[in-house]
Amino acid sequence: MTSISQPKSGSRRVAEWIYTVINPLIDALRREIGLLQERNLSWRYHSQRFEYIRLVREYIEPDAMPNLEDFLADNPAFDQKFESHDRNVATAEMRATAFYKMLIAAPIFDKDVNKAFQKYESTITPIQHDAPSLESIKAHLPKFVAENLINNAHELPAHYTIHSFWKTFADDFQKYLSEFEDYKGRESFRKVAQAADALKETSLNLLRDLESQRLTLCREFDVPAARPPVTVRGPVPDTLSS
């Protein structure tokens, strides 16, 4: 006969759930929410993925995967919550990528980026290095523009190659975006924004649930919320070592 034993006070098993599953997820979700509050999806054209918003399993170290499975075995309600988060990530990522592909394929977008590029190049001077020529990245410029639109980037750091270009034309492209939507009327940027909002909501709920679960586990099993620092022992005195 088999019996399921309940974890005891000070349980190492429960402590490992907290340190290797719950804490990394809380940390990652706080980061996700911070980005989503700015509607920054951290989408990258080269990978066509979100760089800093990931599926739950991707936030867990490979060595800790058994702890995740063990946690879910005893806390099955989180299975659905994790799935809901991951579904929202996948939807938002899919919509962002679809929007990007549509934008890049649209001759009108290419024409507008090229027009902005020509205007920018005609105003810079050879010694004005903080507004460098973008000739060498001209072929990739539509991709950079689309990426920044998807990530709702208002201002880029001064040392980024397209900082000055973006500073000059960001508003025009944002405006263009709404006109483009009306023109196309199918897969739109609005759908990306809606998916980002839905993801933010799910992430906020999951964060709240994980924080609450951590508190419950800490109280019930008397384990600290953070892994206690490892005590490093000093060298063994010579008199004892021989």
Binding site: R31, L35, H46, E51, Y52, H129, S136, A158, H159, T161
Partner: protein, 161 residues
Amino acid sequence: MDSKKLLLIDTGPIRELIAYKAVFTLRFQQLRSDLKFVSENVSYARFGKYVASFQKKSTTASVVAELNRWVRKTDPSGRKRIWSLIYDEFRDMGMEEQLVKLLDMPLDLVARCGPTDVSLLKLAQQQIDSDPVVLTIDQGLVSECWRAKIRTMHIQEILAN
């Protein structure tokens, strides 16, 4: 005539840019202690403007190896995201990366300064026509650059101006 053509960037300044973004954009609070010079918006903007004032930015493969040593000291769960930040930064600032082989570096100098510093010195000498400036937070490298008559800039000088 403006001669700001080539900036050669050492590990320290790159680490400052990455750590700033990690702390303030991605909330990696544990990297806050890595921000030695660029710890708030004003210094980040000033530093960014200085870097942007160069036509080309470049570094060496040895610097990337040193960045790896730094990343390995951080929490394993966040390492992939720190590397993502490094990739983003290199791509977005148009950073070039050059290889300077160990066998092309003077042994005495490597023994004294280490291969990373020497790779930057050597690269500066190879591209002397571009009037390179070596950007660092390492006083030892500043001294070596002076000795080799290579223009150098300590990050503190940028932030103090």
